[in-house]
Subunit: 162 residues, 2 copies
DNA sequence: CTTGACCTTGCCATCATTGGAAGGATTACA
DNA sequence: TGTAATCCTTCCAATGATGGCAAGGTCAAG
């Protein structure tokens, strides 16, 4: 199986397959005389595993852990559980953060007249950092970028950046 | 005021101030004879505005819009409201996605023995893409990376990538 | 044999941000 | 005044995951 078929079968783009190989997430494949990468059904299964983990928001680093656990069937499922639960915590925390941000913005927008008058608490809130009363626009999160990836791009390659 | 003081006062790093200038988010500043950038209190206020917008998860592109609206007080608040509400939608959608991912993982982890036995539905779920019954691990989101930024890094510069 | 579809590598771009290096400017202190 | 420490400058590189393009090799069908 060539990389194109493997990509289609696994849902991971050929580009990403090469990338995963380059960073060592998957081992180097056998090549034909011409230099074409050859994939087995087993490889496709691994790629599918990776894609599903990716769709669940795992970082490549975590996926590497999970793939290692998956390959080594003798490893305890404790490790897998631990990784998953750690990930759940992060996901929930980030979801909470996003909701708080949305709530803050909604609150500000609610008091924005929306007509042609230039009074708008959104702007004022941003300006003063607390002009709307109890809302703490400074409330800082200690978390970095949310590790969400776009899922299999069956649809469009558009990068919905807000 | 030099860039260092402006950075401290605004909460935006000197590095980022230069970056924002380079991409045109803020105008080029006056320089001293030696080439040092000079900032006024007004500039610091603008930077603070930018930081707070950034903390609310606005992309630089959106911040540019907001800053323009902020500067031009004659503009209708309708625009601000629209931008904010669009942003709210995206945030809520992304929060929902994260929660769904967390729920799926939690469900899988719940049935993971967590002892030394290698049976673990997390692994199996990832492997088969649906081994746990009704859970659709293929459920794809059509959304790209979440545009969350780390907030003012008072604490540590660590990038909590899960 | 040609055409078109596929593969290869390699480089560039994204986005926001950090880091570092090399060198000039200013400030503080002995 | 000399010097060291601290600031500032610009430029370059890296991050993570992905897309895109280009130049060139390969393969299968017509």
């Amino acid at each position: 199986m060539n990389i194109g078929q493997a990509a289609e079968a696994s849902g991971v783009s050929a580009k990403m397959i090469r990338y995963y190989e380059s960073i060592g997430l998957i081992p180097k494949t056998v090549r034909t005389e011409a230099g074409y990468r050859v994939y087995s059904d087993n490889d496709v299964a691994t790629l599918g595993f990776i894609r599903r983990a990716r769709d669940l928001g795992f970082s490549v680093e975590q996926i590497a852990e999970l793939v290692a656990l998956w390959r080594d069937r003798d490893r305890a499922s404790t490790d897998v559980k631990r990784i998953a639960l750690e990930h759940v915590e992060v996901l929930e925390r980030k979801a909470r953060e996003l909701q708080e941000m949305a709530a803050t913005l909604k609150h500000l927008a609610k008091h924005c007249h929306g007509d042609t008058r230039p009074e708008c608490p959104i702007i004022e809130g941003l300006q003063t950092g607390g002009g709307t009363g109890s809302i703490d626009l400074h409330s800082s999160s200690q978390f970095g970028a949310v590790g969400l990836r776009s899922a299999h791009r069956d649809t469009a390659p558009k990068r919905v950046r807000s």
